[in-house]
Amino acid sequence: MSSINLTLKIWRQPNSDALGAFEMYNLDGIHTDMSFLEMLDVLNEKLTKEGKDPVAFDHDCREGICGMCGAVVNGIAHGPEKEVTLCQLHMRHFKSGDILVIEPFRSRAYPIKKDLLVDRSALDRIIQAGGYVSVNTGGTPDGNSIPIPSQQAELAMDAAACIGCGACVASCPNGAAMLFTSAKISQLALLPQGQVERKKRALAMVAQMDKEGFGNCTNARECEAVCPKGISIRNIARMNKEFLKAVLTEG
């Protein structure tokens, strides 16, 4: 096991109203088997020992599925490795002497709460607007009464894999949440269960997305490039189609 020495340049901001700024920290002897968040843990232990305020950051499962963690590392949401969340990024991808610039996910719709910790509740409100099948508990038909071709189920699963981390928004030049929104719209548009509310859902979720202050897609494809679950922008195309069909027939 080898270890590396790093210089960290981290965004520090005590609260939403305060002005933020970068601060520099030197961190030596980082094991390359560590995850990025474990490296931040080491920094925080060091800062605490020195009587300083540790860096606030969101994290929970630390296995890449809860979607709670995330920061921009050297300009890339979730860091330089493809298809990983920050917790699954390992320090073996860095070398001794590297300077790492670490910032929060930035977007008009994500107020910074402290340091790297932001408020992504706008994403929940998009789902609340219609990202579900309106079925009550109980009285549902037997699971096998709706056969779904395996390929169709796989496509739906590709879209459903979204973890709601919001990196797509942070990396989009327009601050769009279209990859996130389209993943849910696609999943349900691809499945027979989603057909009844298909049009209503597309209209409501897109309306909420606009209301929250997210921008629109101009095919920069930055979202797809950073998505830890490899969600394709084909979903955005599908969402646009769903939206257009809905507007023309219902809107």
């Binding site: 073996r92 699963m157 349900l188």
Partner: protein, 642 residues
């Protein structure tokens, strides 16, 4: 403490339907007059919140994360069991019931487990209707795979992300109710206390993590869905925020805590590799469908796995348990891995690992098939360890994963505090001394979608419910108690950090003590030592933990400190529980009680009971009560998977 299980009488298959009929109901028009608090938004909490709101109750739901979608149910990989018998391989409700109660080593209540098996089929139907993208056969029907402790294929799955997809289904249902206004959602709140008024749960005290404000919330009923306490060991597969606080505070207010020593150590996790490590990562049990577990036959064989010929390998699970092979239950697989490593046959740099090998499966089924089944798990493994399981065998070792123990509940899932319910992993109800794979998701959703609403209606229908203000004395007292405790924790930090300890340092010390003495193998001497050592760590915490920052801001050190303070208290009943249960059963291996073949030896004559702990006061010894387990429909036997 009175322990009336309220398990219904009558034939096993009729108990649940009879009980539903005899329970009181609340008229649909009256439901909106009642308010319900749900703490936690994992499978149990989200499904309960949605279901109760759909039925017309006023629901307030709380979660610790920034969004209800992030609860740790999301990390469950492998699948969810149901007795559908879609594979026509001999499954039935009775078989699922039997496998579950046997898997739990006959330490669970028959009536509860049967009900779980009974509602399992409805869960699948519900989730399919919500649009959960379960894996399908080419003909479009639902696919299944096999899990440990069963000889039928009954596990439904969505790649290696079953928990995520089921949770997003429940989160969707919850989101729909938030949209209608029937659920008021409070995120980033940590429950600090249960408020009990005249012996009944009437609300909770929470801390707003963003502002530090202590808030009171009143309701007619409180439901805890706050998960397990595996993080008492510091290292576990649980999420960082998973904790015992909510359950522990309920316990201190009068809720009995059942079988706290029953902790599942999952056999297939990525081994520990350094002191800095913050958590352990699970590799789904489904891997044991195709992966073969082995170690070198001779001690200290440091050759690369590929260089060790077949004749020098010991496929110890297949050799020892020919009928279940690599698919023995989790406790058996974990114990055997530890045994091999204790013999000195462990692999990897630490010697604390065994191989899980896919070479034969790849040869048999082809690379593509195996990659399709396990690709995402292989990727995850490779990201963490920098080694590709398609090329060289995985290295795995057991890790703390799930807690079968939890708040004691009756058949209606009500704790010993009237009006306080516990669902999902937070209660002790269904898994006995060992949980079978793919049964946690089943239990969480069974409790939330199909069981709790009946219990709540019965409670509201049979009790006089008085409305109480959030400004009443018991709420004020609880708030003051919480504030005082936080102030006491912060007091040490005045004067700087010199000579003091961080929260994590103390948590790691606690974790080591628990793992060494109350982990995979337990004995009297070790447990007694732990009981002596624990108060010293607790003292160290209260005397010299250093917490930067204040209470009136986002303070993640303070959040962790509160949880560790509770783990330090809770550890005591875990150790005492392990000490008083002088038998081995399921996960609980008392080294003094083993068969000649080192299998767990149960002692039904003396220990066929649930041990339920009562809090007697802060400086007093806790009191243990027993709920006897009566088996009318199964005959407890020595488990054999040979």
């Amino acid at each position: 403490m009175e322990l009336n299980s309220r398990a219904p009488s009558g034939p096993l298959e009729k108990k649940w339907s009879n009980h539903r009929f005899s329970n009181k109901l609340v008229n649909p028009a009256n439901r909106r007059k009642f308010s319900i608090i749900v703490v936690g938004t994992g499978l149990a909490g989200a499904s309960a919140s949605a279901t109760l709101a759909e039925q017309g109750y006023q629901v307030k739901t709380f979660c610790i994360q920034d969004s209800p979608r992030r609860a740790h149910s999301i990390a469950a990989q492998g699948g969810i069991n149901a007795a559908k018998n879609y594979q026509n391989d001999g499954d039935s409700i009775h078989r699922l019931f039997y496998d579950t109660i046997k898997g739990g080593d006959f330490r669970a209540r028959e009536a509860n487990v049967y009900r779980l098996a009974e509602v399992s089929n409805q869960i699948i139907d519900q989730c399919v209707a919500q649009g959960v993208p379960f894996a399908r056969e080419y003909g479009g029907t639902l696919a299944n795979r096999s899990f440990g402790g069963a000889q039928v294929s009954r596990t439904f799955y969505a790649r290696g992300q079953t928990g995520q997809q089921l949770l997003l289904g429940a989160y969707g249902a919850l989101s729909r109710q938030i949209h209608t206004g029937r659920v008021k959602m409070y995120t980033r709140r940590e429950m600090m206390d249960v408020v009990v008024v005249d012996g009944r749960a009437k609300g909770i005290t929470v801390r707003n993590i963003m502002t530090g404000e202590i808030e009171s919330h009143a309701a007619d009923v409180v439901i805890l869905a706050t998960g397990g306490y595996g993080n008492v060991y510091f290292l576990s597969t649980n999420a960082m925020a998973s904790n015992v606080t909510a359950a522990w505070r309920a316990h201190k207010r009068g809720a009995g805590f059942a079988n706290p020593s029953f902790v599942q150590i999952h056999p297939t996790c990525i081994p520990v590799h350094g002191d800095y490590q913050s958590k352990l990562t699970l590799m789904s049990e489904s891997l044991r469908n195709d992966g073969r577990v082995w170690v070198p036959k001779t001690k200290g064989d440091t050759r690369k796995p590929a260089d060790i010929p077949e004749g020098d390998r010991d496929y110890y699970l297949e050799n020892k348990y020919p009928s279940f092979g690599n698919l023995v239950p989790r406790d058996v697989a974990s114990r055997n891995a530890k045994e091999q490593c204790d013999y000195g046959k462990g692999v990897g740099t630490t010697g604390l690992a065994v191989f899980l090998d896919f070479a034969e499966a790849i040869k048999r089924d082809g690379r593509e098939t195996i990659y399709k089944k396990y690709g995402n798990l292989f990727q995850m493994y490779e990201k963490i360890t920098d080694s590709d399981p398609m090329v060289e065998p995985m290295m795995i070792y057991p890790a703390v994963h799930y807690t079968m123990g939890g708040l004691w509940v009756d058949y209606d899932l009500m704790t010993t505090i009237p009006g306080l319910f516990a669902i999902g992993e937070c209660n002790f109800s269904d898994h006995g001394a060992n949980r079978l794979g793919a049964s946690a998701l089943m239990q969480g959703l069974a409790d939330g979608y199909f069981i709790i609403a009946t219990s709540i209606a019965h409670y509201l229908g049979t009790n006089k419910i008085e409305v109480i203000s959030e400004h009443a004395a018991p709420f004020i007292d609880s708030k003051r108690w919480v504030e005082d405790r936080i102030a006491k924790m912060l007091k040490n930090s005045v004067g700087g950090s010199a000579g003091k300890f961080t929260v994590d340092e103390i948590h790691k010390e606690l974790g080591r003590l628990m793992w060494d003495n109350c982990g995979m193998g337990r004995n009297k001497a070790g447990l007694e030592t732990a009981l002596e050592e624990l108060p010293k760590i607790k003292q160290k915490f209260w005397d010299s933990v250093y917490l930067p920052g204040t209470n009136k801001e986002i303070n993640q050190s303070l959040e962790r400190a509160g949880r560790v303070a509770d783990f330090l208290e809770f550890g005591e009943i875990m150790i005492r529980d392990a000490l008083t249960r002088e038998e081995s059963c399921g996960c609980h291996l008392r080294e003094e009680s083993q068969t000649e073949e080192n299998e767990a030896r149960r002692d039904d004559a003396n220990f066929s009971h649930v041990s339920v702990w009562e809090h007697a006061g802060d400086e007093k010894e806790p009191v243990m009560h027993k709920e006897p387990l009566v088996f009318e429909y199964v005959t407890p036997s020595q488990r054999s998977y040979k």
